[in-house]
């Protein structure tokens, strides 16, 4: 985010596919000539390049880089760091190049003049082969000598000191794990690094007197004999990794150490006291303190959002946009004084200066259509018409029935579902099967609620979904029909009808030989209907519940068929015996699931209590002043958590199964009611009473009253009242109102007994009526 971008003065793209990092660039008068600064860049691929940027050449794009380039050599080894210093016994600057296993010092010489500029070459002065992989280096007048010495940090934590062409000594840093930045503070003659313990450490005199590194084989082993252990003079806990340390020496009065951490910028005094710090709200990439005026220090800071920031102590003075994330920054004097030289990781070298060029962010164009006004006008008119019409129909709806805030609700039984169950206007929906089992009911409800100005009204109506929604007709297979487990036979007093005539959907499926039909439910399950030569219909299937829908449909359609033909005395009957055994199977299944739901509930609450208990213990332990071991309470906590989760999942699965079982139970119960009414020729009123008795609930709730106990209560009430043997008995039972609380029964034996009894009493001629005979 910046207003301006850094102005390009000179730039070059170095190589292709080369990589650069922090130490790969240095700036200085490398050839000791009278001309200004040169830029030395070394890459990880081993290329060493020297540039001398000039403004005049910068104008010609593309040519600039080639003409300003003084030297390009390939050094065979990766270049980790380049530094300029007085590494030889003379006042001339030499170039030190650090390779992973080698340190070389070169002098850079002018080889001659050719027409496009000077030609340079490098001459090796001396080199050291390193025993350990180097990672970075620093230089300075260690111990106050006149010339520069070098200190190299290796990847395994050894500081190696070189005084010109001789190796002085090596020391292992204590507690080393990963290398940090390294800097030399000439004012206190000490070395600074940020260790893996995330603290800034300063080493001074102990370095020289500590044990020689070579005498120790393993840096991790504690010292056995002799020598002093290397300990830092002072440490400062930063709590973060550092990217760079810089000890600028602009004047003798200023004494500060700058540390660029991942998240903060620190300025410290020489004794490790924080002078100031600044929290950075971005990820910095590199920095460079470059000048100091009146006790404040100016520094450049590059970050990962392509910004170049100039700070005066903690105050942001300037922000400029760069085209890349800089990994190294320097300030150099060419023809242009104080140019900022920046290098990106992929070899973009840029000399720039601060200017008021606006940042090159330009807003993308909105795909604004070229407006054709006439066309737009026409479209607008058309749309206006639509809108007006839309609002007019709205008004007519209101006017015709004087409604306000009308609302339409559609409800169907699970597993059926509708696409949208509430409407304000335009009721349009479709229903579909949303489960892996056939529904028990194809009926749905529509509720329309609205309020005429003051009074709210509700209108309800029922609708029936077609059977074809949940099943398709297939051709019956002989083999399956003979092996079907469940069979029901319905007798009539009329000759059989052509099944294809009353089931038009089946007519489309090709062959229905022998007047039989088969329905395959979408979730699976096959039901076959056979019409015999005499007046019988047989329904058979592998699953008891599946027969309900088909049986109901068949009875209904046959009724309609004969009513159309004008046959008045059409009678249908079921000769029995009632398939009570099959029916009880689904009752038992449902009950079993309810019992296990209860079990899961208990287990869950028990585990949750345990979880809370462990949490409480852990918390008291952590609140304790003195830290105590956890004694594996954490493992226990984790295990309990896993248990709770798996229990909850199992309970959820059980709930799904329970829902399915309840739908199946409803199907079977309705089938049973249908058969009972056919068997005994019950009147519609009686059938309604029976249905209300057997299906007291529309929704099953495992915790509260479930189907078993409600049904049991209703059935036993019937048995005691209208179906009881003696009228006296009826009177006494009616007197005692309100039985015990309904709860989950222990087993289903009582219920089964009562249902069987109910069937027997009905068979013996018991009549269902709500009016007490007494």
């Amino acid at each position: 985010m910046s207003l301006f971008k850094a102005r390009d003065w000179w730039s070059a793209a170095l190589g292709e596919g080369e990589e650069f990092d922090q130490g790969c660039m240095c700036v200085g008068n490398v050839d000791n000539s009278a001309m200004g600064h040169k830029v030395v860049v070394g890459s990880y691929m081993g290329m060493l390049r020297i540039f001398s940027p000039h403004a005049a050449k910068a104008n010609e794009a593309g040519q600039g880089a080639a003409e300003a380039q003084l030297l390009e050599v390939h050094l065979q080894n990766a270049i980790i760091q380049v530094e300029l210093g007085k590494f030889v016994c003379s006042d001339l600057l030499h170039l030190a190049v650090l390779h992973p296993r080698k340190l070389s010092v070169y002098s850079v010489l002018t080889a001659g003049n050719v027409e496009h500029g000077d030609q340079y070459q490098i001459k090796l002065v001396y080199e050291h082969n390193l025993q350990r992989t180097a990672c970075n280096m620093t230089y300075g007048t260690f111990g106050g000598v006149t010339h520069h010495s070098l200190c190299i940090q290796s990847m395994d934590g050894m500081l190696m000191f070189f005084e010109q062409d001789s190796y002085s000594f090596g020391r292992f840093l204590p507690g080393f794990l990963l290398p940090g930045p390294l800097a030399y503070n000439s004012r206190t003659d000490s070395f600074l690094t940020v260790s893996s313990a995330r603290q800034l450490e300063s080493y001074y005199e102990t370095l020289a007197v500590a044990t020689e590194a070579e005498s120790r084989q393993d840096p991790d082993q504690p010292l056995k004999t002799g020598g002093k252990r290397l300990t830092p003079d002072w440490i400062l806990v930063l709590g973060e990794q550092a990217l760079d340390i810089s000890v600028p020496s602009f004047s003798h009065s200023s004494s500060s150490i700058f540390v660029l951490g991942d998240r903060n910028l620190y300025c410290l005094r020489d004794n490790g006291q924080i002078y100031f710090m600044k929290k950075l709200e971005f990820n910095p990439s590199c920095f460079l303190p470059y000048t100091s005026t009146d006790g404040t220090t100016n520094l450049l800071l590059g970050n990962h959002t392509n910004m170049l920031l100039v700070y005066q102590d903690v105050t942001l003075k300037w922000a400029a946009q760069l085209a890349f994330v800089p990994v190294a920054l320097r300030v150099a004097n060419f023809d242009l004084k104080g140019a900022v030289v920046s290098l990106s990781w992929d070899g973009h070298l840029l000399c720039s200066y601060m200017g008021t060029d606006p940042s090159f962010f330009s807003t993308p164009k909105v795909d604004a259509r070229e407006v054709d006004y006439e066309q737009a006008d026409a479209e607008l008119k058309r749309l206006h018409k639509f809108i007006r019409e839309a609002s007019r129909t709205q008004v007519t709806v209101k006017a015709s029935s004087a409604l306000a805030s009308s609302k339409l609700t559609v409800g169907v039984q699970p597993p059926l579902a509708v696409t949208q169950d509430q409407f304000v206007f335009e009721p349009l929906f479709s229903a579909f099967l949303n489960g892996r089992y056939p529904p028990a009911d194809l009926n749905g409800d529509i509720t329309l609620s609205y309020s005429s100005p003051t009074v709210p009204h509700v209108i309800q109506c029922q609708f029936k979904l077609p059977l074809a929604l949940v099943c398709t007709a297939t051709s019956p297979s002989k083999s399956s029909s003979s092996s079907s487990i469940f069979k029901i036979t319905v007798d009539t007093n009329q000759p059989p009808v052509d099944l294809a005539a009353i089931f038009p959907i089946a007519a489309q499926s090709a062959d229905n030989e022998g007047n039989s039909l088969a329905f395959r439910f979408l979730p699976g399950g096959l039901v076959t209907v056979l019409a015999s030569k005499t007046s019988r219909y047989r329904i058979q299937s592998d699953a008891f519940e599946d027969m309900w829908l088909v049986a109901n449909e068949l009875v209904h359609r046959v009724d309609v068929h004969f009513a159309k033909q004008g046959v008045d005395d059409f009678k249908k009957s079921f000769s029995g015996p009632l398939p009570l055994k099959d029916y009880f199977l689904s009752v038992d299944h449902h009950f079993q699931l309810r019992v296990s739901a209860q079990k899961y509930q208990d287990l869950l609450s028990e585990r949750a209590a345990q979880f809370r208990a462990i949490q409480r213990r852990l918390l008291t332990r952590f609140k304790d002043k003195t830290p105590a071991p956890l004694q594996n309470l954490d493992t226990l906590l984790d295990a309990t958590y896993t248990q709770v989760m798996s229990l909850a999942e199992a309970a959820e699965e059980n709930a799904c199964q329970l829902e399915e079982a309840f739908v199946r139970l409803r199907s079977s119960t309705q089938l049973l009611v249908l058969l009972l009414s056919l068997w005994q020729g019950l009147t519609p009123e009686q059938t309604n009473i029976l249905e209300a008795t057997m299906l007291p609930l529309l929704h099953d709730t495992p915790q509260l009253q479930g189907w078993e106990e409600s049904c049991d209560a209703a059935v036993s009430h019937l048995l005691r009242t209208c179906l009881s043997r003696s009228p006296k008995d009826q009177a006494t039972t009616l007197a005692q109102a309100g039985g015990p609380m309904l709860g989950l029964p222990r087993d289903t034996a009582r219920l089964k007994k009562h249902i069987t009894l109910l069937c027997e009493r009905l068979a013996k001629g018991g009549r269902l009526s709500l009016a007490s005979e007494a």
Binding site: Y44, T133, V237, Q241, M277, K279, A404, L630
Partner: protein, 511 residues
């Protein structure tokens, strides 16, 4: 030209350049060859942490559970000006709700959306569920979803074979004795494994921190801050405060001040937090984060003048601070200086902020500054940049406002309808639609809209007031009186409401 390099060095260099994925890959390779390479292990841990690192100071969302099940009992009726819960008392001469809209908890709308912009504790569960918790959604965040959202979850970044570090197998006391590993490991646990589900990991982090603090003879400020962070996450605020205080006495650090102030804000002690910030500023003069903290508290306390003062102070230190520019801009806008607000927003635009909200603001500023040519093109751009339905609704609402301003009622009506199509709980749009419906003479429809608006956001006084006027006109004095009372609750200084109330009382007295 191929040059061989030490893989560990390369990984280390990648890490420094924040090429974290490459770094982690190289480390994985090293670890395959030598599984006990501590340096590579540590580097990979750091890389994985950096990938998901977020500064915890900026992230603070109270889940609904934390809010309602808060055990830290605090006086329910705080004195005015000492609590963030009762912001109603504006003593800084801030704008009234007639000029500047309020959030549900009664704060003026701020110019910069922060994670906890709309904080403030609701009084009841019902209100808690209704109050928008995050800036963008209207639903309350549960602890599990709201906290520490970031791009790409940690589990996506680690290798598919399972977590990089199996924390349950670590021997914490052994690691706590290794200072060069323990901090890295701790940050990994805290940031990479953080998940509210993983309460367990917090415990592990806490365990490690406690052991390490002991190891450092209770002298290491960093470990104390980390202990405090763990306590904070576990909701043990007083313990956290103790640790932060102790850390500050060892070493003054900006972060510690920020954590402590955040804690005090959570404990609803804004004055203490302010003093702490000011104390921090004595040590770190000109620290932007501290200044911003002060400004935010002033803004939440409805003290706009001081807030703007501090935002200006922020800009003196860092003139690219987006939050400060945006907040000053919105303050100018709501104090009837759209031209000046326009300059601030334009500045943001020049700095490269490019989003729907900015263009939305620009469009409004242009309109009120009478630069009509820019208004519609700004909104056009805003519409092109919308990221979600809420933003779209806001843009259309503003276009509707502009349409009202130029008197194109049909356009305004359609704009508000569009607003509702995109966000059906936009109470302001309901309110404005109601007024338009009333102008068309559809009293019933208008009343319905007003009632909807009033239920959607009871903190707004406009629907109540409008309802009161409307009820009075159709002769329903009782409803009118009740609505007027509600309006008075929402905005006690509203003169028109008071006039209505006086009139009604006279009526009732006369009867």
């Amino acid at each position: 030209m191929e040059v061989t390099m030490d893989p560990l060095f390369l990984a280390w260099s990648y890490f420094r350049r924040r090429k974290l994925q490459q770094c982690s890959e190289i480390c994985s390779k090293i670890l395959q060859d030598s599984p006990y390479d501590q340096a590579a292990w540590s580097l990979k841990t750091q890389a994985l942490t950096e990938m998901v690192y977020i500064d915890e100071i900026e992230v603070d969302q109270e889940g609904i559970a934390e809010m309602m099940l808060d055990e830290n009992a605090i006086a329910q009726v705080a004195r005015p000006g000492t609590s963030l819960r009762l912001p109603g008392t504006s003593h800084g001469g801030g704008p009234t709700p007639a000029v500047r809209p309020m959030t549900q908890s009664g704060r003026p709308i701020t110019g910069f959306v922060r994670p906890n912009t709309q904080s403030g504790r609701p009084g009841t569960m019902e209100q808690a569920i209704k109050t928008p918790r995050t800036a963008s959604t209207a639903r309350p965040v549960t602890s599990a979803s709201g906290r520490f959202i970031r791009l790409g979850t940690a589990s996506m970044l680690t290798n598919p074979e399972g977590p990089f570090i199996n924390l349950s197998r670590l021997n914490m006391s052994r690691y706590s004795q290794k200072p060069n590993l323990s901090r890295t490991l701790f940050e990994y646990i805290l940031h990479h494994e953080n998940d509210v589900k993983n309460f367990f990991f917090h415990l592990q982090a806490l365990d490690l921190a406690a052991l390490a603090t002991e190891q450092a003879q209770f002298k290491d400020w960093w470990w104390k801050v980390q202990l405090g962070k763990c306590y904070y996450r576990l909701g043990l605020y007083r313990e956290a405060e103790k640790q932060f205080r102790s850390a500050l006495s060892h070493q003054e650090m900006v972060d510690t001040y920020l954590y402590l102030a955040k804690l005090y804000q959570r404990l609803d002690q804004p004055i203490t937090a302010l003093n702490l910030f000011k104390h921090g500023l004595d040590h770190f003069p000109g620290e932007v984060t501290l200044l911003t903290g002060i400004a935010r508290i002033h803004e939440e306390m409805n003290n706009m003048a001081s807030a703007t003062e501090y935002y200006k102070e922020v800009l003196k230190q860092d003139n690219t601070h987006v939050e400060a520019i945006a907040c000053i801009g919105s303050n100018h806008f709501y104090s009837d200086q759209p031209e000046i607000a326009l300059r601030f927003y334009r500045r943001l635009l020049q700095m490269g902020v490019y989003n729907c909200q900015l263009y939305n603001n620009l469009g409004l500023c242009c309109f009120y500054a009478q630069q009509y040519d820019m208004t519609l093109s700004s909104f056009e751009r805003a519409l092109a940049l919308v990221a979600n339905d809420e933003e779209q609704a806001d843009v259309w609402y503003n276009i509707g406002q502009v349409a009202l301003g130029i008197g194109d009622l049909t356009l305004a009506y359609q704009c508000f309808k569009l607003t509702l199509a995109f966000s059906n709980d936009h109470a302001e749009a309901y309110n404005n639609l109601a007024v338009l419906e009333l102008r068309k003479g559809r009293v019933e429809q208008s009343k319905a809209f007003l009632q909807t608006a009033a239920t959607l956001s009871p903190h707004m006084y406009e629907p109540h007031y409008n309802l009161s006027i409307l009820s009075e006109k159709i002769g329903d004095l009782q409803s009118s009186y009740m609505a007027a009372q509600k309006s008075e609750d929402a905005f006690p200084e509203h003169v028109d409401t008071q006039q209505v109330l006086v009139q009604l009382r006279q009526h009732f007295a006369a009867l």
